[in-house]
């Protein structure tokens, strides 16, 4: 026990004195958070939401085309739910207007729905979300129609319901754009979620350093540690605990800073947020242990590797804007299901918008599995006590 504590204290000291690690895990998230805050609060001020212009091209008289036409009309009605200023036009005309940037994009309604957009921005993302939603609602609508045949007339109530539903979904995704409560940064929330995910995973560098210092084949000091009369796993565990503590401290620091200085509001489910952060931190730690024990290369290469996959994972999960997450979720859902950083980001996201819900637990569960698999492989590799070559 004394030994455990001895090693724990020194591991803690060693990690905290490592300037590179301290920068990445403690300072970098705060700098990046400040940057997000400054950049996005500017955008939000400038782009307070108003209905934006789109073109609607009706190709034929199919049920889908009619349905979509009606929904877009519904969403362009003056009033609280107005999202678009729509105008019917031909494809040629629409293309021309898009060139001149008079419209953000246009929708082509025929037996299926397609859309063309100018560039990627928040409006385009909204348009995409709406088109996807219309298709989903339409699928439900046709199943209903088949069930009670004969009633082929377009149901006005159904269209209105769809309009409301789309608005609710948009509100959930882009709250501040639609409802203008000033205290919320909301659609930039995803950036802050991925910032937390990033901090969790930068903890991997701490874990990696902590494990390496105990391994004779990974570091010089490891040789000295390994000839000492102490079981290897005992020391690794105590070193990892020290790195976990630092991870927790930096997470608390990040939450504190973003909440009190950047006025980010993380939502009500405090305990669940803590739980998800802990799971995230453990997942990051597991990645570090895995890289330390399985990859045989020098420490700087390993750190570079960890930074690279963390940043890439963050990028895919929406750190540089929700559009990326949206695109990946839609087109390559498997990537984001396996992306541990997205498990964290998405967990927060679903907690915020849907509350404590199956989706949240799925993310927790995935993080748990991720950690168990990596730790399992690492323990298997670390069991070896002597090496072919050091």
């Amino acid at each position: 026990m004394k030994l455990f504590f001895h090693n724990f204290l020194y591991s803690f000291k060693i990690l905290l004195r490592n300037k590179v690690l301290v920068f990445w895990i403690m300072l970098f998230p705060i700098i990046l958070g400040t940057f997000f805050y400054l950049a996005f609060s500017q955008i939000e001020k400038k782009e307070s939401f108003e209905a934006f212009p789109i073109g609607v091209v009706v190709k034929d008289n199919s049920i889908m085309a009619n349905y979509a036409k009606n929904v877009f009309q519904e969403l362009s009605k003056d009033g609280q739910d107005k999202i678009f200023q729509m105008e019917y036009m031909s494809v040629l005309k629409a293309e021309e207007k898009l060139q001149k940037k008079e419209i953000v994009g246009y929708v082509i309604c025929s037996s299926s729905l397609s859309f063309v957009i100018g560039n990627n921005g928040i409006y385009e993302t909204i348009l995409k979300t709406v088109v996807d939603q219309v298709m989903e609602e339409f699928a439900i609508y046709t199943t209903l129609l088949e069930k009670n045949e004969g009633n082929k007339k377009m149901d006005k109530a159904w269209i209105e319901k769809t309009g409301k539903e789309i608005n609710t979904i948009l509100q959930k995704s882009f709250v501040s754009l639609i409802d203008d409560s000033p205290s919320k940064l909301s659609y930039t929330m995803i950036e802050f979620y991925s910032l937390i995910a990033m901090t969790c995973f930068y903890g991997a560098m701490l874990a990696m350093t902590s494990v390496n210092k105990n391994l004779a084949n990974m570091s010089f000091v490891g040789k000295r540690v390994q000839v000492s009369p102490t079981p290897k796993f005992h020391l690794i565990f105590s070193s990892l605990l020290a790195s976990f503590l630092i991870q927790i401290i930096s997470l608390i620091g990040l939450f504190f800073y973003t909440t009190f200085f950047l006025h980010i509001h993380y939502g009500e489910h405090f305990l669940w947020i803590v739980l998800l952060s802990l799971f995230g931190a453990i997942a990051g730690l597991s990645l570090g242990v895995f890289v330390a024990s399985v990859l045989k290369s020098n420490e700087n290469t390993k750190i570079g590797f960890l930074i690279l996959i963390t940043m890439f994972g963050c990028f895919l999960s929406g750190m540089m804007g929700i559009t990326m997450k949206y695109l990946v979720d839609k087109n390559f859902p498997i990537i984001n299901r396996l992306n541990p950083l997205n498990m964290i980001t998405d967990g927060f996201y679903s907690l915020y918008y849907y509350g404590v819900h199956g989706k949240f637990f799925l993310n927790l569960f995935s993080l748990g599995c991720f950690s168990i698999v990596l730790i399992g492989i690492s323990v298997w590799v670390l069991r070896r006590q002597a090496y072919d070559s050091i």
Binding site: K2, L3, H6, N7, Y10, K13, I14, R17, N18, K213, A216, F220, V221, K223, R224, V225, Q226, V227, S228, P229, T230, P231, Q385, A386, Y387, D388, S389, I390
Partner: protein
């Protein structure tokens, strides 16, 4: 005297390189055993095998009378290692480094503090306790490396080339320190490719080359293998050829050369060669300036055994 280490037919192969080849030797209690050999001769590999850091293909190793395994914690507790590489934490001060490693062996903090101070004093780093490794010169860093390995007062110590790339002052400090440890009763395995060090420090010497033992014994025993007993060098302004022939026919003389006003006489054996030579010069009234006699060195032994020089291999 009991054997502290017994190595039997140890063979270690890296991928396709036979770094240690059928090595057998033992280390007796209280002695300093020197492993002498050029770079790449397998000294570090042998030590790492004994320490159970490396797996090996054949042979067996016993330490303190028990087979050595990675989990021989009872034996490990009594062992200390000074690795060839400097194995310290850049983030910790001199004191903390020694304290950390010592703490892996000694849990009682009062005892440990005393031990750490002792180790720091032994290597003469008292004035540098608060320094970090990055602030230390090469020689001081090596001394810190030693302090980290010996602080827990082990009975069995390994020093793997502790004096490589070290200034003369640090080297003397290190060699003195090792003698003190031996006098306190430690058994020591010392490796080096500097023959002078091994010669003055070690009770017994094993000469290694390409993973094999070439010869072993005390330094006198080894020198007997050199097949020469003495080299006498004399500075003489002018030495006519007839004298040279005369000298080369003295008993025991193996070889005589004279060039650049320097005469070299190599003797196979014999005790009073120098006296005999001086008497002869006197008798023939030959004037000479300097005269000195060299006993063979371990380098001559190595040269004799391998045909190459120890220094430049």
């Amino acid at each position: 005297m009991r054997n502290i280490i017994e190595v039997n037919h140890l063979t270690k192969v890296y991928k396709n390189l036979r770094a240690v080849n059928d090595l057998s030797f033992e280390v007796k209690e209280g002695e300093i055993l020197g492993l002498l050999g050029p770079n790449g001769s397998g000294k570090s590999t042998t030590i790492n095998c004994i320490l159970s850091l490396l797996t090996f293909q054949e042979g067996s190793i016993q330490v303190f009378g028990k087979p050595m395994t990675p989990t021989s914690y009872a034996s490990r507790k009594k062992m200390g290692v000074v690795f060839q590489d400097v194995c310290v934490f850049d983030e910790l001060t001199v004191f903390d480094n020694v304290d950390y490693f010592c703490g892996l062996y000694i849990q009682n903090s009062a005892v440990r503090k005393e031990y750490v101070e002792d180790a720091i004093a032994l290597v003469g780093l008292q004035d540098f306790k608060k320094y970090t490794p990055k602030q230390l010169s090469g020689g001081l860093l090596r001394r810190l490396n030693i302090a980290c390995g010996i602080a827990h007062k082990p009975q069995l110590l390994f020093f793997d080339e502790p004096t490589v790339a070290v200034d003369p002052q640090s080297r003397n400090n290190i060699l003195e320190g090792i003698k003190i440890l031996r006098d306190m009763g430690a058994t020591i395995v010392y490796t080096s490719h500097y023959m002078e060090e091994v010669e003055i420090l070690c009770d017994r010497i094993i000469i290694l080359d390409k993973g094999k033992i070439l010869a072993s014994g005390t330094s006198d025993e080894l020198k007997a293998l050199a097949k020469i007993e003495e080299k006498i060098t004399v500075e003489i302004i002018d030495l006519p050829k007839k004298y040279l022939d005369k000298i080369s026919h003295f008993s025991n003389v193996q070889n005589v050369t004279y060039s650049n006003q320097v005469l070299h006489v190599v003797y196979k054996k014999g005790k009073n060669n120098l006296v005999e030579l001086i008497d002869y010069f006197k008798k023939e009234k030959i004037k000479y300036n300097k005269i000195f006699s060299l006993r063979p060195t371990l380098n001559d032994v190595f040269l004799e055994l391998t045909g190459k020089e120890l220094r430049d291999s």
